[in-house]
Symmetry: C2
Subunit: 211 residues, 2 copies
């Protein structure tokens, strides 16, 4: 029952019975930082819930380009594995841990079964869909309507929120990759932001002053 308690700590909305069911049916996994969770074309036979750590979800095209979508943090679920989204031809979703991560994998059959059995599970799944959809819309907005300088600010704000700190440990190169831009462009924009007093630049990390 110690595992069920860990689940309920991160997912307090689940009733005890559901948490205990999870202890029986789900698989617990610990994954080190910087590990690929989903590879293009991989089949997904289970959905996953994040207990601890941080997962980055991004889109890949076929030519080595990436595009950051959103993070999954403790208490989040993966909307993609819930819909069993696999077998893309053109582009694919990729996910990797950015911190040491603990998650539980739930077989898809159980996911369906619990939908009608546990109200809290049903609400969790619906909320997961809504939250991911909303984040994806925000990402779409920024790339559809905004220039790179505004997209960069939006990106940094998001990082600050998820990291919970004004120090964002990231290189210019990594930012460029997430925004599908180039390192030089990001460096120049950051420099201008520094001149405006919005950020302070360091090697290997960016300090957010006022955004």
């Amino acid at each position: 029952m110690v595992f069920a308690q860990a689940i309920q700590k991160t997912f307090p909305q689940f009733e005890t019975e559901l948490a205990e069911k999870m202890e029986q049916e789900a698989m617990f996994r610990q994954i080190p930082a910087d590990t690929e969770l989903m590879r293009p074309g991989q089949f997904i036979r289970s959905t996953m819930l994040v207990l601890d750590g941080l997962i980055k979800v991004y889109r890949e095209d076929g030519e080595g380009n990436e595009f950051f979508m959103y993070y999954l943090k403790p208490g989040d679920g993966c909307a993609l594995s819930m819909t069993c989204m696999v077998g893309q031809e053109t582009s694919t979703i990729a996910a990797k841990t950015v911190q040491n991560t603990e998650l539980i994998m739930i077989p898809l059959e159980k996911m369906d079964e619990w939908m009608s059995k546990y109200k809290s599970w049903y609400h969790f799944v619906v909320k997961t869909y809504r939250d991911r959809f909303e984040e994806l819309l925000q990402t779409l907005d920024s790339v559809a309507f905004r220039n790179m300088d505004e997209r960069l600010e939006f990106y940094l704000k998001r990082q600050r929120k998820i990291i919970g700190s004004h120090i964002i440990p990231i290189t210019h190169q990594e930012i460029a990759q997430d925004l599908n831009s180039s390192r030089e462009v990001i460096s120049r924009l950051l420099k201008r932001m520094a001149e405006l007093g919005k950020v302070k630049l360091h090697r290997y990390h960016v300090e957010i002053l006022k955004l």
Copy 2:
């Protein structure tokens, strides 16, 4: 029961009992072409299923810009109203009919209730989420990774698929709006496509030759 039959014709996957329940609980609406269905900030108290016609769903920023997301056709449901996505601050979803449209509105309470009662409803809702998510990802891809010429081709292919015809009744101005570009850019790109034999240009419509 004539209404229940109409539902089952467009949604054959629903069991008869569910279709009859819908006849009792849902509201049938006929909406003329070119009508705004969702206005920014509007509250959504019901989800909707499309029986006939065509609905365009797009994103709006605060400055008069638009960005096409996807169409809803007969047999589709609206993932947004299912998650009851309202009260955005920054950007908003907008939807309008492009043809005369018949749809049924289902109160949100019923939607929840039927989830555990009818397997076919549950599968429909999950499928709706997955399909919309996938379409949104494709939209995101094109704007994140592709230049305007490729985006335009993708857009025209999509139109052909949903319209079911090689004649796309649309003006350059409307395409520019959907792609958040400008009329001159679209005109020039279309001209180049015409030179390559991919399309044939007409006033008020575009004829797709080979894409």
